[in-house]
Assembly symmetry: C2
Homo-oligomer: 355 residues x 2
Amino acid sequence: MAPHQEGEEVSNKQVLLRDYVSGSLQETDMVISTAGTTHLKAPQGSKAILVKNIYLACEPYLKALMTKGVTYSVEPGSAIAGIGVAKVLDSDHPDFKVGDLVWGMTRWEEYSLINTPQVMFKIHNTDVPLSYYTGILGMPGITAYAGFIEICSPKKGEYVFVSSASGAVGQIVGQFAKLMGCYVVGSVGSDDKVRLYNNSLIVDLLKSKLGFDEAFNYKKEHDLDAALKRYFKDGIDIYFENVGGKMLDAVLLNMRQNGRIAVCGMISQYNLEQHEGVHNLINLITKRIRMEGFIVSDYYHLYSKFLDLTLQYIKEGKMVYVEDIIEGLESGPSALIRLFAGHIVGKAVIRVSHE
Amino acid sequence: MAPHQEGEEVSNKQVLLRDYVSGSLQETDMVISTAGTTHLKAPQGSKAILVKNIYLACEPYLKALMTKGVTYSVEPGSAIAGIGVAKVLDSDHPDFKVGDLVWGMTRWEEYSLINTPQVMFKIHNTDVPLSYYTGILGMPGITAYAGFIEICSPKKGEYVFVSSASGAVGQIVGQFAKLMGCYVVGSVGSDDKVRLYNNSLIVDLLKSKLGFDEAFNYKKEHDLDAALKRYFKDGIDIYFENVGGKMLDAVLLNMRQNGRIAVCGMISQYNLEQHEGVHNLINLITKRIRMEGFIVSDYYHLYSKFLDLTLQYIKEGKMVYVEDIIEGLESGPSALIRLFAGHIVGKAVIRVSHE
C-alpha cells in the first residue's frame, strides 16, 4: 500500500453508539460502520493531532460514557470514546510531531482527530509492549497505584483483599501489595475464567504468575462471609473494591479496625436496574473504616513517579501483566459484552492496527 | 442529713441490665433496683476512686453496651455503663482528691467505684453548667469536633448537612459549621420535637438559637431526595451522618464532587432486625467521596485543644447548647426509649443528684 498523502481521504471503520444505553449493555447498542471517511490531516490552526489508533482499552467505564447525562458522554451516532494507544500521523500542535506515540482518550475508530492533544500522554519507553500503555503502564496502572498506594497507605504485613483480581487493575494491585510485603487474596467472578486455563489455572495464574497468596471464584461461594473468613482469619486491613453489592457487604463484616476501602469500581452493579442494597455500613463506625471513591484523573500528576517505579519493576521481572488481546476493531463490541459477563482474563485490549 | 462517715454503707439506687438486648430496646430491658448498697470508700491499694454521680448522659451508644459480644458490654444484672459527671467522695489514686469533679465512663447508679480513674477527665472549668460535660464540653462535643473538623476539613462557603441536628452532637456540628463560614442545614426526625416547641419551634430553635440556615423534619418528607434538592440546589459538600439508611441513600445522590461523609451514627438502623440496604454507593466513585467512620476515643488527644476553643466560644456567646434535663435516675430507662423514638430535643441528661 502506498503511503497516504497529506490530507488524503481514507475510509475509517468505526464503532458507533446506536443510542444511549439504559439498563444492561447489549452488543446491539454498538454498530460497526465502514461508511465513514477521514482526511489524514490536522486542520491548520486547530492545535489538533490526527492519529492512527493501534490499541484500544476494553473497560467497564465505557458503559458509563454511553449513558445519557454523564459528563463526557458520547453522542448517539458518534464513535465510542475510550483510552487507546495511537501514532501521530499529522500534528498542528507544537508539542507533537509525526511518528510520536501517545496514549489517552481517543475513539473506537481507525483514525481519530484529537482536538485537545495536550491531555494525551507521550510514550517515551518503547522497550515494553505498546499495549501495556492501555494497561499496567496506563490508566489501570495509575488507578491501581492511586487507589492502593495513595488512598490505602498499605503497611508491610497488612491483609489485603482485591476483587476482580484478574482484571486490568486488580492484577496490578495484587502485585503492588506483594511488593509492599502484604498478604493478598484475590477474587474472580466467573467459572469461565477458570475453564479458560484448564479448570484450575486462574488460581495458578493469580498465585504463581501474579504472586497472590490465595485466590477464589466468588460466584462459586454460597456464603461470601464464610469464604472471606477462610482466607482472612484475622480480618482484612485493605479492600480494593471493584465489584460492589453482596461482596462489599461481606467484606464490611470482615474488615479490621482502621481498615481502608478504596472504591475503584462496582462492576456487579453497573448492569442492574436498581443497585443492590448494602446492609453492613454500620461497620464503618464500629471499625473506624475509611471508604473512599476516587477517579484516576485526579492522580495524573503522579503519573511519571508511578511510571518510573512500574517500568523498573517490569524490567526487573518483579511485575508482569496478563492481557487478552482481541484482534480487530469489529471485535470490540462483543469483547465489551464478554468483559461485563466476566469472560475475559487479564486486561482486554483491542488491536486496531499493527504498530 | 448528717454527712456520710468514711466507709459508711449507704443504699445505692441503680439501673440494672436485665438481659442482653437483641432487637429493639425496651424499657423492660432495664430494671430500677433499690436493693444495692455501697461503701463510700475506695479500697486501700486499689488506685480506685469512689464517686457520687451527678449527671448521666442518655445516648444511643448505650444500647450497644447492652448487646452481647460487644467490647465493654455490660453484664446482665449489673448497672448500665455510660458517660457521666461525678464528684469524688473518696480516692485511692494520687491524681484525684476528695471534691474533684470528673467526667467519663461511670455507671447508672447513685455511687460508683471507678477502678481506672486515669481514663476520667478532670473538670477544671466550673463557670459553665456542669451538665455540659456530658454534652458540648464532653463526648458529644469532641465527637462533633473530631468528625466535622478533623475528618471533614470544612472550608468556608461549603454546604453542610447534619442529620439528628437537634441532638447532642448535631447541634454542635451545626454551630461549628456556621462559625467556619459554611451554609448548614439540619434534619430532625420527629413531629413530636416540633410540637414540643409549639408546632414550629424546632425550626426556630435550630435556625434562631443554633444558627442553622435551614431545618426540616425528614419524616414529613415523602421524597428525601427532593427535600435535599430543595435545600441544596448545588449539592452537599459535607454530610455529618447520624441517621443511616434511606437518609444516607438520598444524601449520596446529592453529594458534590470531593464530598466528605463523617459517619458518626446510624440511629435509624440500631433497632432494626436487619439494616436497610444502601443503594447509591456508586456515587462514592463518580463524585470521589470519602466516607469515614470514627470512634471518638481515637481523638481524645485533641480534647484540651477542643475544650479551650469551645469554652471560649461559649463564654463569648458564640455557641449555645440545648439540653433536656430529666430528673432522677429512675427516669433514665424511659428517657432512653424516648431518645430512640426521637422524642427528645437537645442533649438528654439525667440528673442523678444535685451538685
